[in-house]
C-alpha cells in the first residue's frame, strides 16, 4: 500500500514538473525538428534519396532528443537535495526509479511519437511507414530512457555529464535502433514488420526488468 502511494507520488510529480516547465518538452521537440531539417541540406533535396535515408535520420533524431532529457532525471534533484528523499525512502529504490522513468517515457515518448509522422513528411515517406515509425519511436524512447537511467544515475552532477552519458548510452541502444528502424523499413518495402516489432518489444521488456535494479545500484554508488 505504501509502495503504491510512493510510486504514484513519484509518477505524478514527474508529470507535474514536465507540465510546468515548458523547456522540458519544447527543447527536445525543437532539437528533433532541427536535426531532421539539417540532413536535406547535406544530401540534397531529391525525394528519392531522402526517402532512403528518412527512416534512419528520424529514428536517430528521436533517440538523440530523448537522450538530451536524461540529465533531468536525477541532476536537478541532486542539486536541491530531493534525491536524498528518494534514496532514504524505505520503499525499494528500483520501484521509485521505474516510476520516474515511466512518467518521463510517457510524456516524452508520446510527444516524440506524435510529431514523428509530421517529420516524415520532410522525407516524402508514405503514411503507413510514418505510422510504423511513430510506433517504433514510442517503444524506443522508453528503452533508451531505461538504459540511460543507469548512466544518468552514475553521472549525477558530473562535469560534462551529458556528453559522457551519450558516449555510454548510445552503443547500448543500437539493438532497439536496428529493430525499430528495421520495422519501418520492412513496411517501406511492403513486407511484414512483425519480427522486428516483436524483438524491439522484447528488448523494451528486458530493459524494463533489469535496468531499474541496475540504476538503483548506480544511484547508491553515486550518492555515497
Amino acid at each position: 500500500m505504501s509502495l503504491m502511494r510512493a510510486t504514484s507520488a513519484v509518477f505524478r510529480r514527474e508529470l507535474q514538473l514536465f507540465a510546468r516547465r515548458k523547456s522540458d518538452w519544447a527543447n527536445p521537440l525543437m532539437f528533433f525538428l532541427i536535426v531532421c531539417s539539417l540532413f536535406p541540406f547535406a544530401v540534397g533535396s531529391e525525394s528519392e534519396r531522402l526517402k532512403l535515408i528518412g527512416i534512419g535520420v528520424i529514428f536517430v533524431g528521436a533517440l538523440l532528443a530523448a537522450m538530451l532529457s536524461l540529465p533531468r532525471l536525477f541532476d536537478e534533484d541532486a542539486r536541491d537535495g530531493s534525491l536524498e528523499l528518494m534514496v532514504t525512502s524505505p520503499e525499494p529504490l528500483a520501484a521509485l526509479i521505474l516510476a520516474r522513468v515511466a512518467a518521463l517515457s510517457l510524456a516524452l515518448g508520446v510527444a516524440l511519437a506524435v510529431v514523428t509522422p509530421v517529420f516524415a513528411l520532410f522525407y516524402a515517406l508514405p503514411f503507413d511507414v510514418a505510422v510504423m515509425l511513430a510506433l517504433t519511436v514510442a517503444m524506443a524512447v522508453p528503452t533508451l530512457l531505461l538504459v540511460g537511467s543507469i548512466a544518468a544515475a552514475l553521472l549525477v552532477s558530473a562535469r560534462g555529464g551529458a556528453i559522457l552519458t551519450a558516449v555510454l548510452v548510445l552503443p547500448l541502444t543500437i539493438p532497439t535502433l536496428i529493430f525499430g528502424a528495421g520495422a519501418a523499413l520492412k513496411v517501406f518495402y511492403g513486407e511484414s514488420p512483425v519480427a522486428e516489432l516483436a524483438l524491439q518489444a522484447a528488448f523494451m521488456l528486458l530493459a524494463l526488468a533489469l535496468c531499474p535494479l541496475a540504476a538503483a545500484a548506480a544511484l547508491k554508488i553515486s550518492t555515497d
Binding site: V147, L168, I174, P175, I221
Partner: protein
C-alpha cells in the same frame, strides 16, 4: 554492497585468494608473471609470424593478402576475451569489495581497446584488396567497433571521477551492463547485416590448411601472452600510483634505489 575487505575476509576462508588480493602481496607476483609473458609473447610471435608470413601456403582465392588474418583474428578474439575478463573482475570487485579487482579491470581496459583498434585496422587493410573497400559493415567487424565504444566509455567514466573509490564502482557497474549487452548487440548486428546485405563474405570462412591453423594458434597464444604482460605492467603501475603512501611501497622503493 560496500563491504570492506576485512569484513569479507571473515566470511570467506580461501586463504590463498585473500593473500593475493592484497596489492602488496600481488605486486611481486605480477612482476614475475609479466616477465614470463613478455618472453613467451616475443618467442611465440616470432615463430607464429615466420610461419604465417613465410611458411604457410598462398591462398587459392585471396593470394598473399590473406596473411593479415594471423594478426586480425587473434586481435579480435582478444578484444572480446579481455572485455569478459574486465567484466569478471568488475563483478568480483563489486561483490567482494577487493580494490585489486577494480585495479585489474582498469589495467585490462586500454589493452582491450588497442586490440579492438588493431582488429578494425587490419580488417580494413584486408578489406581493400579483397572486397574493394576499406570498411564493410559485416557483423563481426561492426560488433568489434561497438566493443571499442564500450571500452572507451568505460575508460572515460573511470577518468571522470575524482573520488577513486566511487569511480571504481561506477565503472565496474557500466562494465557489467556492457557485458550483458554484448551478446544482445552481436545478435542484433547479425540480424541487421543479413537484412541489408543478404549473404556476406565473411573473413576466415574458407577452410584452412594445417600450417595456416598452426600459425593461427601460435599467434593466438602470442597475443594472449602479450595481453597478459601488458595488463600486468599496467596493474603494477596502477598499484604504485594508488598505494604511493603505503609503507610497503616506500620500503620497496628504498630497496630498489640502494
Amino acid at each position: 554492497m560496500a563491504r570492506t575487505e576485512s569484513q569479507s575476509n571473515e566470511k570467506f576462508a580461501g586463504r590463498w585468494f585473500w593473500r593475493y588480493a592484497s596489492p602488496a602481496t600481488f605486486f611481486p607476483l605480477a612482476g614475475k608473471i609479466e616477465l614470463l609473458c613478455w618472453v613467451l609473447a616475443i618467442v611465440l610471435a616470432a615463430v607464429g609470424l615466420y610461419m604465417g608470413f613465410f611458411v604457410a601456403p598462398t591462398d587459392a582465392q585471396q593470394g598473399e593478402v590473406y596473411r593479415v588474418i594471423f594478426i586480425h583474428v587473434p586481435a579480435a578474439w582478444m578484444a572480446m576475451v579481455i572485455y569478459l575478463a574486465m567484466a569478471f573482475w568488475a563483478c568480483t570487485g563489486l561483490v567482494l569489495g577487493t580494490r585489486l579487482s577494480f585495479m585489474m579491470s582498469h589495467a585490462l581496459a586500454p589493452t582491450g581497446a588497442i586490440m579492438s583498434v588493431v582488429a578494425l585496422w587490419t580488417g580494413a587493410l584486408w578489406g581493400r584488396p579483397t572486397w574493394g573497400t576499406y570498411w564493410v559493415w559485416d557483423a563481426r567487424l561492426t560488433s568489434t567497433l561497438i566493443l571499442f565504444f564500450l571500452y572507451v566509455g568505460y575508460m572515460a567514466l573511470a577518468a571522470s571521477f575524482d573520488d577513486k573509490k566511487k569511480g571504481d564502482r561506477a565503472s565496474a557497474l557500466i562494465a557489467l551492463v556492457g557485458a550483458i549487452n554484448v551478446p544482445i548487440i552481436y545478435f542484433s548486428v547479425k540480424w541487421w547485416n543479413t537484412l541489408h546485405q543478404g549473404s556476406s563474405v565473411r573473413p576466415g570462412s574458407s577452410s584452412m590448411a594445417t600450417t595456416m591453423l598452426t600459425a593461427m594458434m601460435i599467434m593466438t597464444f602470442a597475443f594472449w601472452a602479450y595481453c597478459i604482460a601488458a595488463a600486468m605492467h599496467r596493474l603494477r603501475t596502477e598499484i604504485i600510483e594508488r598505494e604511493r603512501n603505503a609503507a610497503w611501497l616506500k620500503e620497496a622503493v628504498k630497496e630498489a634505489i640502494k
